[in-house]
Assembly symmetry: C2
Homo-oligomer: 418 residues x 2
C-alpha cells in the first residue's frame, strides 16, 4: 500500500471509531485508561528495547545530545506516562455535560450539551511521551486520535501504540480509536492534512517551522501554538519586592519555555529604585540584559537593545528591558511587539489593575503573579493538550473541555414553526 | 493601487480599529448602532439610487428574476435592516462577561472572560442586507469587520458602508471598524484569505461552491455552513397526529432552507398507520415522494428512491421516505447519509428519547419538535451570523457570543512558581 491509501484508511477507520467513542460511558473509559497505564508498566522492557532502536538511528543521523535525551524512554518516563493516564482518568468527563439551558416562550426546552469533536490529528516532534499524553486526553474526551510523531521516534511510538491497541482489543473498545502513523515518509503529513472529510481538528506540537507548515497545508482547522513573547510590567507604586520576585521567577524559573518573560517593562517612576537590585539578581543567575537608552543609563555597561530585540523570543537567559512612561505605553509596547500569549502587571493601583485586565489582549492576563502560570495544570484545567495563541475555539491553555464542542438539544411536545 | 495593496491596507487598518473596538463600552456601541439605523432610514433614497445601478448591471449580465429580487433594496428592506440594528443594540453585550471563575490552592483567582475575536472577514453573495446584518453583529461584539459582498451588489454595499462610515466618523468611533471591499476583482478574495496576520476568522455565506472555495484557499480559520440533509424519525408508539404535524412543518413550511426535512424515516410498526394519511397531505401540498421498497409497497405508485436520494439536499418540495426496523437503523441512516445539521425524533418513549439525544451527532437534536427550529432567533440566541456545520469553535446556529472567545484573567498577590 502506498502512503496515501494507508492514511486514508486510517482516517476512515478513525471516523468509525469516533462514533463508538462518543457513546462510551465515563466509567468504561476510565477503566481502560487504568488498564493502559498498567500495561505500559508491565511492557516497559519491550518499550525500552524498541526505543533503543530509535536511539541507535538517532545517533546514526547525528542528532544532538539534547534531542537524544528528549527521545530516550527512561524508567521514569514510563512511570510518568502511566501516572499521567491515571490522572486523566480522574478528571471529570466533559462529554454529556450541559453547559447552559433555557426555555423558549413556546415551551421548547433548549440546552447546549458537550460532545466530542470527533477525530483529532496530532502532529509532533521528538518526545515519545506526547504519544501517551495526547492519546489519553483524546480518549477521555471521547475522540478518536491519529498520532504522527517525529520520524526518529517511530519504533518507540509504535511500541506505545501497540500497547494501547492491545488493551483496546482486549477490553472490547474500538481498536482504531488510537492510531500511530506507521511510516516515516513525510508525505504522510500532507495526506493527513487533506482528510477534512474524516478529521475534525489538527493540533501541531513543536517548533514554529512545523506549525507554519501545518497551517499552510491544512484544509482541516488547526489549533496553533506560536511563540510566547511574554512581558511583565512593573507599574508606578508597585510593591518592589513583589515585582522583583515575580520578574525573577518569570525569567529564570524555566527560561526555555513559552511562558517565560522575554521583555521587562518598568514604569519610569520606579526604574531607579527597581532596576539596580533586580539587575544584580539577574546577573547572579547568569541572565544577560539588553536595555533601552534609559535602562542603559541607569545600568551602565548594559548593551543596547535593538528594535529586533523587542520581538525576540529568546527562550534563554537573555532579557530585554525597557523603561516606559506609563501603563498606556506599556500596553502599547505589548500590543505591538507581544504575541498575545501571556502578559503580567505588578501593581498596587485598583483602577490600573482593572484596566490592564480589560484592555490587554492576551490569552492569559495576570495581576501580581508570574507569567509561568500560563499552563493548563497550574490554572486548574488538569492535563494540557497545548496552548492556543489563536482565538478561534480556544485561546490559551487547552484542557479536555477544549477537545469537545457543544450541540443544541431541544425538547418539545409537538412544537412547529408558524 | 492594485488589489493586493488595497486589501492589505484594509486588513491593517481593520486590525488597528479592532484594538479600539475591543475597549469600547456597551452603551457607546448601542448608541452608535441606533444612529446607524436612523441614518439608513434618512438616506434611503440615496441607497436605493445606488441600488438601481446594481439592478441595471444585473439585468445587463442576465441575472435571473429570483437573483434580481434578492438584490433589490425595497423600502421594506431598509426598514428591516434598521430594525435589525436596533434589535442587535438590545442584545446583551458578551464582551467582558466572565463565563467561569475559580480559585487555585495557592490563592490565585482564575476566570475566563469573553473578548472579541478581533477582525472578521465575511464573504457573501447577492443580498445587500447581509452587509448591515453582519456589520451590526460584528460591531456589537466588539470586532472589526471586512465585508466582501457579491460583485453585482457593489454599489449597494458601498452605499451602505458609506452610511456606516459617516456615523462612525461623526461619533468619533474608529472608522475602519466596518469596511466593504471596494473592488469587483475576484482576486480580492484570494488576497483577503491570505491575511492571517490581521484577520482572525472568515465566515463565508452562500452556496456550497463559495464555501468550498474559501475553505480550500484560506489560511485563516473558516466557520463553514455546508448543506443540511435533515431527518425526522417517527418512532414506534409515536403520537401519530404530532408526527404528522411535525413532518409536514419540517418539509413544507419553507422547503428551500437548510433546516427543512429532506428524508422522512418511519418505524416499521407505524408505517401502515402513518404513511397513507401523511402522503395524502403531502400530495395536497405539492410534495413529490421517493420511497424505499417498503414505502412503495404501502404507497403504490410512489417512485423508488435511489441511493443518491438519501444524500440529497433537495431544497424543494421533494421528500425521500424510508421505513426502518428500529431507532438504531434510523440513527445509522442519519449518521451515514445526514450532514450533522438537524435531526428530530417523534417519540413517546422515555428511554429512546434520551438515547437519541445522547447518540445523535448533529448540531441540533430535537425531540418532538420541527427541524425548522434550528435557527438562532428561534432558539433564543438573538440574531444569527450563520449556522456552523463543523465542530470547531461553534456547532449549529451562531449568535454574537460565537463572535467572541475567552481569555484567562488571573488575580494574585505575588504568587510565583516553585
Amino acid at each position: 500500500m502506498n502512503v496515501e491509501s494507508v492514511i486514508l484508511e486510517m482516517a476512515r477507520e478513525a471516523k468509525a471509531a469516533a462514533v463508538q467513542m462518543a457513546r462510551c460511558p465515563s466509567a468504561r473509559k476510565n477503566e481502560v485508561l487504568h488498564k493502559i497505564a498498567d500495561q505500559l508498566e508491565a511492557d516497559a522492557a519491550f518499550i525500552q528495547s524498541e526505543n533503543a532502536k530509535d536511539l541507535e538511528y538517532a545517533r546514526g543521523i547525528g542528532l544532538s545530545d539534547a534531542m537524544i535525551d528528549r527521545l530516550t524512554v527512561k524508567d521514569a518516563t514510563i512511570r510518568s506516562m502511566a501516572d499521567g493516564l491515571r490522572e486523566v482518568a480522574a478528571l471529570e468527563d466533559p462529554v454529556g455535560a450541559v453547559t447552559r439551558s433555557w426555555t423558549r416562550p413556546n415551551g421548547l426546552e433548549v440546552s447546549r450539551m458537550r460532545i466530542p469533536l470527533g477525530v483529532i490529528g496530532i502532529i509532533y516532534e521528538s518526545r515519545p511521551n506526547v504519544t501517551i499524553d495526547a492519546a489519553g486526553l483524546c480518549f477521555k474526551s471521547g475522540n478518536a486520535v491519529i498520532l504522527r510523531g517525529g520520524s526518529e521516534a517511530l519504533h518507540s511510538n509504535q511500541a506505545l501504540a501497540g500497547v494501547i491497541s492491545r488493551v483496546l482489543r482486549e477490553t472490547g473498545m474500538p481498536e482504531k480509536a488510537v492510531q500511530v502513523v506507521p511510516v516515516r515518509d513525510r508525505a504522510a503529513v500532507n495526506v493527513l492534512l487533506a482528510q477534512e472529510e474524516y478529521i475534525d481538528l489538527i493540533i501541531p506540537r513543536g517548533g514554529e517551522g512545523l506549525i507554519r507548515f501545518v497551517v499552510e497545508h491544512s484544509r482541516i482547522p488547526v489549533l496553533k501554538h506560536y511563540k510566547g513573547v511574554c512581558h511583565v510590567f512593573v507599574d508606578q507604586g508597585a510593591d518592589i519586592a513583589m515585582a522583583e520576585e515575580i520578574s525573577f521567577n518569570a525569567k529564570v524559573h524555566r527560561p526555555g519555555v513559552c511562558n517565560a518573560m522575554e521583555t521587562l517593562l518598568v514604569h519610569r517612576a520606579e526604574a531607579e529604585a527597581f532596576l539596580p537590585n533586580m539587575a544584580r539578581r539577574f546577573e547572579a543567575a547568569g541572565v544577560t540584559l539588553r536595555g533601552c537608552p534609559e535602562t542603559c543609563r541607569i545600568l551602565p555597561g548594559t548593551p543596547p537593545a535593538s528594535e529586533a530585540d523587542w520581538y525576540e523570543e529568546y527562550l534563554d537567559l537573555i532579557l530585554a528591558v525597557r523603561v516606559v512612561d506609563d501603563m498606556d505605553a506599556a500596553i502599547a509596547h505589548m500590543t505591538q511587539y507581544g504575541s498575545s500569549h501571556t502578559e503580567a502587571i505588578v501593581t498596587s493601583d485598583y483602577r490600573r489593575a482593572r484596566r490592564f485586565v480589560r484592555d490587554m489582549d492576551a490569552s492569559v492576563v495576570l495581576v501580581n503573579a508570574s507569567t509561568r502560570f500560563n499552563d493548563g495544570g497550574q490554572l486548574g484545567l488538569g492535563a494540557e493538550i497545548g496552548i492556543s495563541t489563536s482565538k478561534l475555539h480556544a485561546f490559551g491553555p487547552m484542557g479536555i473541555d477544549e477537545l469537545t464542542t457543544t450541540k443544541f438539544v431541544v425538547f418539545g411536545d409537538g412544537q412547529i414553526r408558524s
